[in-house]
């Protein structure tokens, strides 16, 4: 297999090569470390290379395999982790200049669980400073600078799990960990053309992750396929008595057959695919909708109520909780070292959110949950574009108007345009699947949102979609290879 074939191989293929002795874990780790250094630095995707740790873990993985020890699916597989996750002895900067010297002496639970599964932590990956909790304006709102999109380095990789999206898309690691408070896995997955999973709130431990919003934060995988996300989720999900949000559940992927999936009721709002999508994205979104329709499932037009201010709720709940987490920091001189002025202003403003306003927001939040309860009595899954358009140019403000929806034009038809904040408010799982390209060659994604703890259904549907399409197998031309349809 050529270098680029190795770079873009999925977990199952890498495991097959490790099992047959064609490749050692040390060789694979060295390969990833080299690409992270050479390609990752060009993309501003890397916060820190962890060569010593990775090679030590790789040597132990090779020894265990040679000794005939039981080896799970991630044994010897390298990965990167968003730099908001603590890794013992390594810098954990949270993407923010004031925390550039921060080092923890323990591993986040998810990193410890992946180590137990034999996976190799090769790098901490770049992120938007403080996961963007104050509302940032620039792609450059990161200690590493603007994360460049492997499909077009003049475009942004998305945020706040920027490096995780870019590193998987560029073939630097087979999978990465990201986190989502509201959109930080789904958006970079869509922009970078990779598969991302936002787990149900409470399924994956957040111990060792930077807290931004205790009632919204989730940790999840970004990978080459839904099946690879499932393998990672199996390893990282599970009870954690140190995490008050832990639901006490584990996850095991049991793919549902097409005959089961055909019985699903899939909800969608036509306006999301037609009026509210960027013009250059509409053909790909229409094709994705037709692919899903061809499954034979019952397609149901349905939308969230338009009188619930999900975006406002997310702002106030994140703001109030982040103000509690970071209050002393926000009031310190070091706060001035943050990169993004809009984010600083947003965090300062959040200090003024009253207990009354926070509690009112939490009361209204329950109405969002109730709205989903009603929707999920009618359908099993919600489908929408993950983002209405492609990755934004890195040198343009992120709040610049770009499409009809951003320009304030409201669709007269019902839509699920607020599905990311609303889905996060309700703690629901979501998967982002690459679904094609704009007319200018930028990747696009669709998202599937399900009931709490229905990751198995979403990933089964995602795996089916990825058997019917090859969008998830395409490779960025940046790496010297035209888009491929192999496999």
């Amino acid at each position: 297999m050529q270098d680029e074939g190795l770079a873009f191989a999925g977990i199952a293929e890498l495991r097959r090569r490790l099992d047959c002795g064609d490749l050692s874990a040390v060789e694979l780790a060295e390969f990833c470390l080299r690409r992270l250094e050479q390609v990752g630095s060009r993309l501003n995707a890397v916060a820190a290379l962890l060569a010593e740790r990775a090679l030590d873990e790789a040597r132990r993985a090779d020894q265990a395999r040679r000794a005939g020890a039981p080896c799970g699916p991630l044994h010897g597989i390298p990965y990167g982790a968003k730099d908001l996750l603590a890794a013992r002895g390594a810098p954990t900067t949270w993407g923010a200049p004031p925390f550039r010297q921060q080092v923890f002496d323990f591993d986040a639970t998810v990193i410890a669980r992946l180590a137990q599964a034999g996976a190799l932590l090769v790098a901490k990956l770049a992120m938007i400073e403080l996961a963007g909790g104050g509302g940032y304006r620039w792609a450059a709102a990161s200690l590493q600078g603007p994360a460049r999109n492997p499909w077009d380095p003049t475009r942004w990789a998305g945020g706040s799990s920027s490096g995780s999206g870019a590193a998987v898309a560029a073939g630097l690691v087979p999978f990465a960990l990201g986190s989502e408070t509201s959109g930080s896995i789904i958006a970079p997955a869509a922009f970078c053309g990779v598969t991302g999973l936002r787990p149900t709130y409470g399924l994956v431990s957040r111990v060792g992750a930077m807290p931004l919003s205790w009632t919204l934060d989730k940790v999840g995988p970004m990978a080459r396929s839904a099946e690879d996300c499932a393998l990672v989720l199996e390893a990282i999900a599970g009870p954690d008595e140190d995490d008050p949000s832990s639901a006490g559940r584990s996850f095991q992927f049991q793919p549902l057959p097409p005959e089961h999936l055909r019985k699903l009721r899939i909800g969608y709002a036509p306006a999301d695919f037609e009026e509210l999508a960027a013009e250059e994205a509409c053909p790909a979104f229409a094709a994705a909708l037709e692919t899903v329709r061809a499954l034979g499932a019952d397609m149901v037009e349905i939308a969230l109520p338009d009188d619930l201010p999900s975006g406002a709720l997310v702002q106030v709940i994140i703001g109030a909780e982040a103000a509690s987490v970071f209050g002393p920091f926000i009031e310190s001189d070091a706060f001035e070292l943050l990169v993004d002025g809009r984010q600083k202003a947003g965090l300062r403003a959040a200090l003024s959110i009253s207990a009354r306003d926070y509690l009112t927001a939490m009361r209204v939040r329950r109405k969002v949950q109730e709205a989903f309860h009603a929707i999920f009595r009618e359908v099993d899954v919600l489908l929408s574009p993950a983002r209405p358009g492609p990755a934004t140019p890195i040198d343009e403000p992120l709040d610049a108007p770009r499409s009809a929806v951003h320009q304030g034009e409201q669709s007269k038809r019902p839509s699920n345009a607020s599905l990311i904040p609303a889905g996060n408010l309700a703690g629901l799982p979501a998967v982002c699947l690459p679904c094609g390209f704009t007319t200018t060659g930028l990747p696009l994604g669709i998202q599937l949102v399900g009931r709490p703890f229905e990751e198995n259904l979403l990933l089964s549907l995602g795996a089916w979609y990825q058997r019917e399409t090859d969008w998830h197998l395409r490779r960025p031309p940046l790496l010297g290879e035209a888009s491929s349809s192999e496999g």
Binding site: A47, R100, A140, P309, G311, A345, A349
Partner: protein
């Protein structure tokens, strides 16, 4: 406010690469080097942030609530 490309902090990327190679934090940042790279007016940003927050709070307060609408303080999906 200047155009962002005049201030795109490539130095952050280079420092990240240095950090990456060594796996340890790089040199101490020069005072203020990371602050507000786009030189936006902090007063205007602060006012805009307060206005955005006020708008969000108004939208939330406008949702009718009854005495039965209790928050989930231990959040469960």
């Amino acid at each position: 406010m200047r155009e962002p490309e005049q201030h795109l902090p490539e130095q952050h990327g280079n420092e990240a690469a240095a950090l990456a190679r060594g796996g340890v934090p790089p040199r101490e940042q020069q005072a203020g080097a990371g602050a507000d790279v786009f030189e936006e007016d902090p007063m205007a940003l602060a006012q805009a942030a307060q206005e955005r927050l006020a708008g969000s709070l108004a939208a939330i307060r406008a949702v009718p609530l009854t005495i039965r609408d209790e928050p989930s303080l231990v959040f469960r999906p």
